[in-house]
């Protein structure tokens, strides 16, 4: 049962991801897509957090 649940969640994640990417591809112009990809606040923190090292 545990394994099944894990597999279900993974499938869920994959479907989510596919929808997400599909929407990005279809509704976003290239410029908007770039803005989206680099629009996260965490960009500046990557690689500098103490917990990551």
């Amino acid at each position: 049962v545990k394994e099944n649940k894990a597999a279900e969640r993974e499938l869920d994640y994959i479907i989510n991801l596919q929808n997400f990417k599909h929407e990005l591809k279809t509704f976003y112009t290239p410029a908007k897509l770039v803005d989206f990809i680099f629009g996260f606040k965490f960009v500046g923190e990557l690689g500098t957090r103490a917990a990551d090292k």
């Binding site: 869920d12 997400f20 690689g47």
Partner: protein
């Protein structure tokens, strides 16, 4: 943390490359047919090997240009014949002969072989067995995906830096440090393959409120999987980005460094990865073409004969003529080695005529 099947990721990468190169229906059509008959691909491979070995032989002086061209041409003829044969087979199998005419144009000309080879080889543009990260992981998928994650994070941060520089925004201290570290890595990568085993362990649940809102699109949202690693999200997003840009930038920095410390001219590090090798190939082929364009001894004799017409009649002329003839042959032989031989010889003859009839 949401687990992820690393093997599936590499499958996905390989598929992705195949897909992107199969967008053209024409290429797709040819490649699907070629998939069944591997012969043409083998022939193209053999052609490459043949040309390389012939070039080496030529450079060692074992064969001359004539032989080089004869062998390459005859081999290319066999490839063209194989394509024709395939074409005949395809047309035989086609039930509908009313197909639009471009589908029948599977034939190929000699000039197109280069492009043809490229189309065919592109299909195999990515293979995990040529992926440095995968090789460094020694076939351990879990380790390989971690190296991929580290690389994706670095590429993501670096592209963000490039974007900022491109938009002429000022970098803050942290970003300056990142840029500095990047340049150190580039210099390090001249002599070794740089691995990035470290990546962020941030999960989607840890993201700030703004970022969570940012992840909500019109119809879909990725923030439903709270325990998903943010780095996995970055990996997915990075497929929209072109890491060729990073490679181009790194290549330029590397070229500067190598030029500074090893005195290798920067033009050898052109945009395309195998440009330096291509250049050597082009140079050798140019040398062969140059040798081919040279006048043969028979032709030199004819030039000399043409020069002698009407120049040996009187006694005084004969004396002068003999002096001219003495230096004529060695001079045109020397000019024959130059690339602009025709212009040189014409100019030389004009000059001598003017001297003779002065």
């Amino acid at each position: 943390v949401l687990r992820r099947d690393p093997k599936e990721y590499f499958n996905y990468l390989e598929e992705l490359h195949e897909k992107s190169y199969l967008e053209s229906p024409y290429a797709q059509y040819i490649i699907s047919k070629l998939g069944r008959t591997d012969r043409i691909r083998q022939l193209l491979e053999q052609r490459k090997d043949l040309r390389t070995s012939l070039r080496i032989q030529y450079q060692k002086g074992l064969i001359d240009g004539n032989e080089y061209y004869a062998q390459v041409t005859s081999f290319e003829d066999s490839i063209i014949a194989a394509v024709e044969q395939l074409k005949g087979k395809l047309l035989d199998n086609m039930e509908d002969t009313l197909l639009p005419s471009e589908f029948k144009m599977v034939g190929i000309r000699r000039e197109e072989l280069e492009a043809f080879e490229e189309v065919i080889n592109r299909q195999f543009g990515y293979s995990r067995h040529f992926d440095e990260d995968f090789i460094c992981a020694n076939g351990d998928y879990d380790r390989a995906i971690q190296l991929k994650r580290g690389r994706a994070q670095n590429n993501y941060v670096r592209l963000a830096l490039l974007k900022k520089i491109n938009e002429e925004q000022l970098l803050d201290n942290k970003e300056k440090l990142q840029l500095k570290k990047w340049h150190e890595d580039i210099v390090r990568s001249v002599t070794e393959f740089v691995l990035y085993p470290e990546f962020t362990t941030l999960q989607v649940a840890d993201l700030s409120w703004e970022d969570i809102q940012h992840l909500k699109l019109n119809h879909s949202a990725l923030n439903a999987n709270k325990d998903m690693l943010v780095i996995d999200l970055i990996m997915e997003l990075s497929h929209f980005l072109d890491d060729g840009l990073l490679l181009a930038y790194e290549r330029e920095v590397k070229a500067e460094y190598i030029h500074k410390y090893f005195k290798v001219p920067p033009y050898l590090f052109d945009r395309t990865s195998n440009a330096s090798f291509r250049r050597l190939e082009v140079e050798t082929e140019a040398a062969i073409a140059n040798e081919q364009a040279q006048l043969s001894p028979v032709e030199l004799d004819k030039v000399e004969e043409m020069f002698k017409v009407y120049k040996s009649q009187g006694f005084r002329e004969r004396n002068r003529y003999e002096v001219l003839c003495k230096r004529f042959r060695p001079n045109i032989e020397q000019m024959n080695n130059q690339i602009i031989r025709n212009e040189l010889i014409q100019e030389y003859i004009r000059h001598l005529e003017a001297e003779f009839y002065k």
